[in-house]
Symmetry: C2
Subunit: 333 residues, 2 copies
């Protein structure tokens, strides 16, 4: 668990896109951040108040979150001065970069002086159990994709927001580093050892109130040969009551796999549902989330109408239209 609120470190971000972790925190958990810290030459701005380390500390910030990715994901020397100063002032640090804070000797030394914590959310810090498959109380919904990077995290966060607004009780359960930094906790599933993947998901989504929904962030795709095992561990460890299919309709091929054609929504529905019902025989597919960013408004509307007709399920782009229809489908389950 990463202590909130954060100060978001944007460093010397080369462009806005490189600050997508900070943007995600600002968009989805604005209460988790008191401000942003930008170094000279920073080309990103997530729209929070610019603060110094001292000002943010005064405002209550507990953790300096590295909300920016360098090319290559490393921790630059230019950042070190700020990070070490932050540790000296009592901040914890949190990072989702490939290069770990824990492998930087000067940061480790600085953190030990006052007992500050270095959170590397890309690696697990828990010994997860092997999954036992025992049925848990409460409800769970999982986003499953036709491909990687089609908007599963966005869908889950938008659904969480829509459900809260409707007075439903829900918790977004992060399974990747961006989601973990946004919410302050979760399981970095792609870094978990094979035998413990499904157990890590069980750990992430424990027993809960009967009307509570865990919204589990999806990863990969059953049809993406590089990562499909991670997806199946989510389906079996998650025991979902409901699946939401996520799709990006303009992909010429699977992400990173030029020879692989994306599967149809019907194929994902059938295979995901067959496998999900092993762990939860009552599981249903309740809706489709379509990432229409490469379609015009008219094209998007037409595509969504076509999906609704063909699949007999509500279909939305949560970015364009919010996730109310998906929340309603869960409420009706």
């Amino acid at each position: 668990m990463i202590e909130t609120p954060y100060l978001l470190f944007l460093g010397d971000a080369p462009d806005q896109l490189s600050a997508k972790v900070a943007q995600g925190i600002k968009d989805w958990r604005p209460d988790n951040a008191v401000g942003q810290l930008r170094m000279e030459g920073c080309k990103a701005d997530v729209g929070l108040t610019d603060m110094t380390l001292a000002q943010a500390r005064e405002a209550g910030a507990k953790t300096l979150v590295i909300g920016v990715a360098n090319r290559g994901g490393y921790i630059s020397q230019a950042w070190k001065k700020v990070l070490i100063e932050a540790l000296g002032m009592g901040y914890d640090l949190a990072s989702g970069l490939h290069n770990l804070l824990a492998n930087e000797g000067d940061l480790v030394a600085a953190s030990q002086i006052n007992g500050q914590t270095l959170h590397d959310v890309r690696v697990p810090n828990v010994e997860y159990p092997i999954a036992n498959g025992v049925k848990r109380t409460g409800k769970r919904v999982l986003a499953v994709g036709t491909d990687c990077s089609v908007g599963k995290m966005y869908t889950a966060l938008a659904l969480d927001e829509a459900m809260r607004k409707k007075g439903m009780t829900s918790t977004f359960r992060a399974t990747g580093q961006t989601g973990i930094l946004i919410t302050g906790s979760g399981v970095p599933l792609d870094a978990v050892v094979a035998d413990f993947m499904a157990g890590a998901v069980e750990y992430l989504t424990p027993d809960n109130d009967a009307d509570h929904w865990d919204i589990i962030e999806g990863q990969g795709s059953l049809f993406h040969v590089s990562y499909s095992g991670v997806t199946l561990a989510l389906i079996h460890g998650g025991q979902p009551d409901a699946l939401i299919l996520c799709h990006e309709p303009t992909r010429p091929h699977m992400r990173g796999l030029p020879d692989y054609t994306p599967p149809s929504l019907a194929a994902v529905r059938d295979t995901a549902l067959t496998l999900a019902r092993v762990a939860n025989p009552a599981c249903e597919v309740v809706g489709v989330s379509v990432n229409t960013q490469h379609l015009s408004e008219a094209e998007a509307d037409a595509y969504l109408a076509k999906v609704e007709a063909e699949m007999g399920l509500p279909a939305v782009d949560p970015f364009r239209h919010g996730a109310d229809k998906l929340a309603d489908a869960l409420a009706a389950l």
Copy 2:
């Protein structure tokens, strides 16, 4: 790669079953072992010549393989004297135990004197790539099970033997510690980090001659919620041309999961084939391997005949009848 031939260390094995790794080496790769080493009180005997460390060294042994599992899988103090003496005489050590040789300070120290290698086959010693899904040359067959521990490794090794006898070219590709110790190499797939599982399988089964068969050892089951992600990584990383379904027909429930009923062979066939064809559209299910150890001869024959009729596929128990029928099915593909 573990250097052969081995001397098989049976230690103070409490019973025959505890020496199943050594027995596997003796049964499947007898040329890999020059003899066995038994301590006082050893209750196991795999039928090899008893040798001292010096005698086996004289006979060419390069590696002392711990072919026995203590209760708890630890490296006992009683063994240490022998293991340290072996290192001093120039042996490498190999172990599949939970407790690692590399974590025993006295063994590490003894190994460093003459540069001997400690092989802990339970943990990966390679940085596997992320799977790229590129079609590889040569042919591959994968054993997929209705459950864990139904005889997938046995089936694969028996198939390898049957294919060699027929003059086909094949390689057994180990994916678990027993298989790795038997053959001297492989991937301990259950210990690989999630993101790299399918890539590890690609690494294990590289391009090969057009008529060469890799026989990939299966793990888990698509229908076993604890380990299904590992199974799917095998299916997608392995790109199998052929699947063999493995089954144990008397299980009241899935192994370790009292609330889970084993799936039908037809269910495994349909789901495994759908997923396998993502990576290899030409994949076919070619046969069924049934573990009939809990059936009488007559019951076994009747069950196999029923499976053949229902599935339209050859069905054998390789332990009772050899794997010739399965090898013939591959040859006919």
